[in-house]
Assembly symmetry: C2
Homo-oligomer: 640 residues x 2
């Protein structure tokens, strides 16, 4: 079969149909009609008297068997989603912290500290002195103090929360009783209070959800920062994105999931094994590609090309040229196991808490991580030999990506302009209106929305209105795949003022071209980087986060992690757009609190708007109102 000439992934979807392979879109169609009770959040399966369902039309039951009404049921279900999202992000961070602890105790055989400067910065951030301590001692203390955030007995707020938000925000969180002292307790609190016959007050439940979401934020700070210590803080790097990064003449290995602990090692061992691959007939040797957020992790730190974000993960196998998919945790469709069986593709699971029937499980233990990584690469080479070349179909379209915009790298870059106050150029341009504001795009893909469509539509509108965009996770994947993370995109999409700023900054920073208009900040746990940047700007301006001309958007949200992130965004005072209604509209009360009532509590709130053009308009309005409130030039007079 010849290479596909299509611009899109549609050719692979057609191929799946020819081969009678069900993809996520097919399963979605077959699942219709979806259960309306579940979609509205008014299905309760919390005890065995039921399940119960509230009639949304008011004709049937308005209370569950225990007497819980729609408000209680919706709030409970929602905060259990936050509890899961928080657990997922936070245990990712805990794995990293445990690894750093091993490194500090010199018991790791595999890992080391790649970024000593970051380690010292991090130590300072959480109140650990570094004088007269060697790097191992600092690492041990940082890891241990980070791990204490997961199990603190005393009531002080988490170390990783206290100094990473503005002082005003911290005070507000503490006054509201939603500054957690312990990440894992904030999860068990939810699972306990949602037990049958416990908390029935929807507002009280939502406050517990807010507290848990702040714990989610805390866990994400740990994940990001300690990953940087172990694997390096991202600096701008040039790479490519799209399924086209899979090479017909290479042994292709996809790393997929979220946790960089094993993928980093795989990237490390590949060099030693190139010859084996070439000997096996792969002219271009071994080609690692990324999927989902593990993809983002290795893109940012190693320049590994990104093959796909969440929704099209199955298509990587459909190319017929993927020899192995190595997965860690989160957002791995179990379907990949069955689809891999239709090809030569080997599927490897690597984490004890994420096995998939049909996959080969090669667990990541520190002691044998390198051996297992080599084993995986070797088996991938064997799989390459089994390829049915007649089944290969790789889309052509490639997109250049400039990624790696950690706050540190932005400061480094801008420091070339003003070494004393590196953020000054951004602040000056926000104040003078060349940059109207900033929107952080995060979150997933959802099969209910044409893949990446909302991201791209919204971004074009916002950029044209001189709004700078930051992106993480599958949002970043969407922009990378759609050629919006390179200098050409600035030329193509940025409004005149934003374009001139990005061109100037690119020039002053010693680049030959404009900065991209969408800055890739990392995987979905790296939303903490967006906060770091915002907190730096707010502190520099002497304001709180809610006052900045700043908003967040998850226009294609899908996972419980996205619910957790969206919630802490509002908890930090930032408006959060979401592109589809989460399962809350069975309770006008809960929906009202989230979209409006929250303003009086945390200053943040949700904006639910499925239409991406409308959504962009709303965010522009939010930003202009925030500008007006700051008394900086605004296109409207009304303040928020």
């Amino acid at each position: 079969m010849s290479k596909c000439s299509s611009m899109s992934n549609q050719c692979l979807i057609n191929k799946a149909e020819d081969e009678q392979i069900d993809l996520v879109w097919d399963r979605y169609e077959k699942m219709k009609p979806l259960c309306g009770f579940g979609e509205k959040g008014i299905c309760c399966r919390i005890c065995m008297k039921g399940p119960c369902r509230i009639d949304p039309f008011g004709d049937g039951p308005q209370e569950g068997i225990c007497g819980a009404n729609a408000d209680t049921i919706v709030a409970r279900n929602l905060i259990r989603m936050i509890a899961s999202g928080t657990s997922a992000h936070s245990l990712h961070g805990k794995e990293i912290a445990k690894t750093l602890l091993k490194v500090g105790r010199k018991t790791s055989e595999t890992y080391s500290i790649k970024d000593e400067a970051k380690l010292k910065t991090v130590a300072g951030k959480i109140g650990i002195t570094t004088e007269n301590k060697d790097i191992y001692q600092i690492a041990e203390e940082v890891a241990y103090k980070s791990l204490q955030d997961y199990g603190r007995i005393e009531e002080d707020a988490c170390s990783w929360l206290r100094n990473t938000v503005t002082p005003m925000r911290m005070e507000k969180l503490q006054n509201l009783g939603i500054a957690p002292n312990n990440i894992e307790s904030s999860v068990t609190d939810i699972m306990s209070r949602t037990h049958v016959g416990t908390d029935a007050d929807p507002v009280n439940l939502l406050l517990a959800g807010l507290r848990c979401s702040i714990a989610d934020y805390t866990g994400m700070q740990i994940s990001t920062n300690l990953s940087d210590v172990l694997f390096g803080t991202p600096e701008p790097v040039i790479s490519e994105a799209n399924l086209s990064v899979i090479k017909e003449d290479a042994v292709n290995i996809a790393v997929h999931g979220h946790n960089p602990l094993l993928s980093e090692i795989i990237v490390d061992v590949v060099d030693e094994m190139q010859k084996e691959a070439i000997d096996a007939g792969a002219k271009e040797g071994i080609n690692i590609v990324g999927v989902c957020c593990t993809g983002n992790e290795v893109l940012l730190r190693r320049g590994i090309p990104l093959a796909s974000n969440y929704l099209s993960q199955e298509l990587t196998i459909l190319t017929g040229a993927l020899d192995a998919m190595v997965v860690d945790v989160q957002c791995i469709m179990p379907s990949v196991s069955k689809i891999a069986d239709c090809y030569q593709t080997k599927l490897f699971t690597t984490m004890p808490d994420a096995k998939i029937p049909g996959a080969e499980h090669l667990e990541l233990h520190d002691a044998d991580a390198r051996d297992n990584a080599k084993n995986i690469v070797r088996q991938s080479i064997e799989a390459f030999k089994r390829r049915d070349t007649s089944k290969i179909l790789i889309p052509k379209e490639k997109n250049k990506v400039i990624a790696g915009f950690s706050p540190e790298s932005i400061v480094n870059l801008l420091g070339k302009i003003d070494q004393e106050k590196p953020l000054r150029p951004i602040i000056d341009n926000i104040v003078n209106g060349n940059i109207r504001g900033i929107v952080l795009f995060a979150g997933c893909n959802n099969v209910k929305i044409t893949q990446d469509h909302n991201y791209i539509t919204m971004a074009k509108e916002l950029l044209a209105n001189d709004i700078l965009i930051l992106a993480t996770g599958c949002g970043a994947g969407a922009f990378a795949q759609n050629s919006m993370m390179n200098s050409q995109a600035t030329t193509d999409y940025a409004g005149e003022n934003l374009k001139s700023v990005l061109t100037l900054l690119g020039h002053e920073a010693g680049l030959e071209a404009p900065l991209p208009p969408v800055l890739h900040m990392g995987s979905c746990v790296d939303n903490s980087r967006g906060v770091d940047l915002a907190v730096s700007l707010a502190n520099e301006l002497g304001v709180d986060l809610n006052q900045l001309p700043l908003a967040a958007s998850a226009p294609e949200l899908m996972s419980e992690k996205a619910i957790a992130i969206g919630t802490w965004v509002t908890g930090l005072g930032i408006p959060a757009h979401i592109g589809l209604m989460p399962p809350v509209d069975g309770s006008p009360l809960v929906a009202g609190v989230l979209t409006s009532g929250l303003k009086d509590i945390t200053d943040g709130y949700f904006i639910v708007e499925p239409d991406p053009t409308e959504a962009a308009t709303k965010l522009i309005e939010v930003i202009e109102k925030k500008r007006a409130a700051l008394n900086i030039p605004s296109k409207i007079k009304e303040r928020v």
Copy 2:
């Protein structure tokens, strides 16, 4: 209205119908037909691509939109239930431990150590020396070490697990990797691995559920033991049970929920306030009654009569004579708020994590617990004055209850026979066959089963077959309400051999009558007491728990806590009967592991049998097979 002459609660149910008040049974009827997907566990609401439903007949989708099949979906849903149950029990224990920490630090204004001997025993159990330490230091160390079980960073197993099971069992749990080092981590582990795209392996998921359930057991040990330290270890006490304990001429206050922290204080302040009540016209003063497990807590320690277990909690208000219901956490139907509104009844919520719209929230803080308790009693007296006496209807039937059979009290009692080896009389009688075995009844009521029917039917059958019964939680409530916890019950229901043993033991222990055939061990967290007794017997015999002629039963299970308990029972190697199918039969694989495959892993397993007579027959068979395997007289030859 005159007093009801009915033997049952049916008169109050009729009254509710007359007054057009919906009760739990009405809401159940209105909810029918229940959602079959939910009942079978094959509904997935874990991400926002769905909700998804697996077609149990095989015609429609066999996979969710992500590709997860019924096995994965059922296992995920089930272990999230375990996570909630574990959180509920464990945070109860954590509250108690935090209170003990305050007492130890001399910062509590309300609580003190009531049982110093138990504190010292407990210290020894978790490896804390007591020599040269005052009681406060011991309390602080015990509390702190208990709290470490909630957040341990290192990998050692929880302190409260290590020495409370048999050495053989501990080794087995550790070899299986299901001996938790940290209670709360075992919950977040579940919430993380069940996140979309993480663990898809049903067996791996179930193992995580097992580990979490062992954490549940650990948290229950903490709850029970530290409650005993603060409030006293139960000793046999005589009281009464049924709605009839509500008195027409008294200010009636029901304490309802699970955590004794506030109810104990309410009982304390009542004496000071009797005069106020009498002055208000309540000839019999203030009458505290118990509902659910808070009821069991104060029954065991203070002899407070038990008005109701879970399912009939609403009827306490329907009597028209309940002036206040004071609730803490868990198993409180939100419906009580609406029903209380139809009467003078004041509803008070007292815990920050359990509010109910319509209730007055008077939070329990150590500093003002007594003031709040008095406030509650005073408002109850005011409510008494507002009573509509024409609406009073109190069932007549009262049942004598002998409760308070902690393992310590059993040892004290039997110590009168053999001071050296107090458990010897039980062991000897088990060995000679006068006691064939022991069944621990636990768990809830469920509206799907005629209230208490399964408990009573099974117990009569088992007792007639010379099987001794222990009971906790709403199971104990069922037996208390149905007159099976007194000496007459031994005469009425025990088989000849068991009767003679109970009569002899009662006599030798200095009682005037036989011991009751069903021993009330406490609230549902006090299932740990059943384990303590079983572990003592096993250690004395030099066998593991799975070898004892012992089984557990939750014949009317309802809550997620019951799922957690049932699971750890099997984890400890003990067969667990349940009287209705939990939401797992959408996956024959998961159902098969739980009812059969587990035997090869932990020796324990679930027996699902809705028919109580059949269930009793099956448990008798289990016990006789265990006897055969121990080479002690058995009615069958086959061994398990």
